[in-house]
Symmetry: C2
Subunit: 287 residues, 2 copies
């Protein structure tokens, strides 16, 4: 059991992980770090963390486990600052939504990939941001993907796995590339599509009062467009290749549907919608 855990970035994910670890008595002490002192003060007031520092190296000094919970685009800069205090026994892990880019960023920052670096990604979140939105149950019965590398120390992976299990999650391991493809499909592309749709409509809104007549389906469909723009900017760029591949497939499928609508080929629509409904209903039952 680690004594001290340092969480860099005490927002929705970092804050919820801290709360869950505290609820499970998973460590002796949690130290937070971040750029926004007001957020850290609030996190301490809420009992999410025990102490904080604005300097990430200071916060991480002496920690057994350091958790990066920052937008993936900030990984390299933060790890550079951490470098001097990462000892041979310090476990470094992260919660980033993309894994190849985080692995590359850590390697650039440290000049090597330390054996006690365990890339991770909890498949959980809400469209909200910040420590105020965090809650200890966020990871209950949710999946956490770890993508240890071939030379990652199995003991480090086991420790990170144990922490997520204490937070209530089911931990699975897969390789970095597979993670990035799967997440492009289930998360990154849907976010991009929703942001794009809301933006398209917002630019038509003034003359047509569009949103006034939106119903629950629209609200659900666009919920993810209320997510943090900076975070999603980082993710889209960080998982560029998988995202663009999938977007190209999707656009081709959409072109095919548009052609069916244009040409009145209803059977194409019906088949597609039925397949989609069946898949979506199966997913809901299994979820």
């Amino acid at each position: 059991m680690p004594g001290r855990i340092c969480i860099i970035g005490v927002g929705l994910i970092g804050g919820s992980f801290a709360r869950a670890l505290k609820a499970a008595n998973a460590c002796r002490e949690i130290v937070g770090a971040g750029r926004n002192e007001a957020q850290l003060v609030r996190a301490q007031e809420l009992g999410v963390i025990d102490a904080y520092a604005l300097d990430v190296a200071e916060a991480a000094r002496g920690a057994d486990v350091v958790v990066l919970a920052v937008p993936v685009g900030s990984t390299e800069g933060v790890v550079r600052q951490l470098a001097p205090v990462l000892g041979p026994n310090t476990i470094l892990t992260d919660v980033g939504s993309t894994k190849a880019s985080v692995v590359a960023a850590v390697e650039r920052a440290l000049g090597t990939l330390p054996p006690r670096f365990v890339p991770g990604h909890p498949i959980a979140g809400t469209e909200k941001s910040g420590v105020e939105a965090s809650f200890a149950e966020l990871f209950q019965q949710r999946r956490v993907i770890l993508t240890p590398l071939s030379h990652t120390d199995p003991e480090a992976t086991a420790t990170v796995r144990r922490l997520w299990e204490l937070a209530g999650a089911e931990v699975v391991e897969m390789d970095v590339q597979h993670h990035d493809e799967v997440l492009a499909a289930t998360s990154h592309l849907p976010h991009l599509l929703a942001f794009a749709l809301v933006d398209t409509l917002a630019r038509m809104e003034e003359r047509r009062e569009i949103f006034r007549f939106a119903a629950g389906g629209f609200r659900d469909f666009t919920r993810v467009a209320s997510s943090d723009p900076q975070m999603w900017h980082d993710i889209c760029l960080a998982n560029r290749d998988a995202l663009l591949d999938l977007l190209a497939t999707y656009q081709a499928d959409l072109d095919r549907l548009a052609a069916a609508v244009r040409e009145g080929r209803g059977e194409v629509l019906l088949e597609t919608f039925r397949r989609a409904k069946a898949a979506r209903d199966r997913f809901t039952e299994s979820g």
Copy 2:
């Protein structure tokens, strides 16, 4: 106050309207009609309707108000069957998600557009279907759009308005074309996008276990893809022009975003995501 209301199609919308009208004592009697006798029997058992007939003309005979609550593609056929029993005082209204196509279908079926035909569309629903999913509160504080034509009898419009208000809805009037554009934006396009995405992913699923790693955002984004395929098939074809116009705009916007991802122009992503989040958050506050 009408004595007898006939509802053709006692599913989610027709059934919920019937329940709401009963709860408000809005009429003496509700007669249902439809093709599926088991559904009608169930509707009667549930107290949603007082009586039913499989023959729509028989069900509608003597009704003061006839409500079409069938997939929009069935409008013409149903109205043809209704023609013999629609008297000069019978109010005909509908709940279809597209209005130009329904108006055209009624005109084709009757050879004219009767002054007591009041096209309507409640902006409410869930991804579920059938009378079992219906509930009296579905229209509470939801908007209902009526699109009366220039020669529609204002008294007929007022009666239909009053029924929806008794069901708890806020009624607004707009012209047919405007309705179809607005709904293409807030409902038809999002449904098409969600069906298309789930189908794209389902066809990749086998080798990648995609859905296993989907989180709440994906669940929200794809909820509308569990909607009734036949209904959405009808809607996409019925509102073809508005839908294709908007889809073309959306695809161009998506191309622009894809280019920004490809070329690493993060500022385009950030701007777009920020605009979208602001619009979506405003919509939620006002909703």
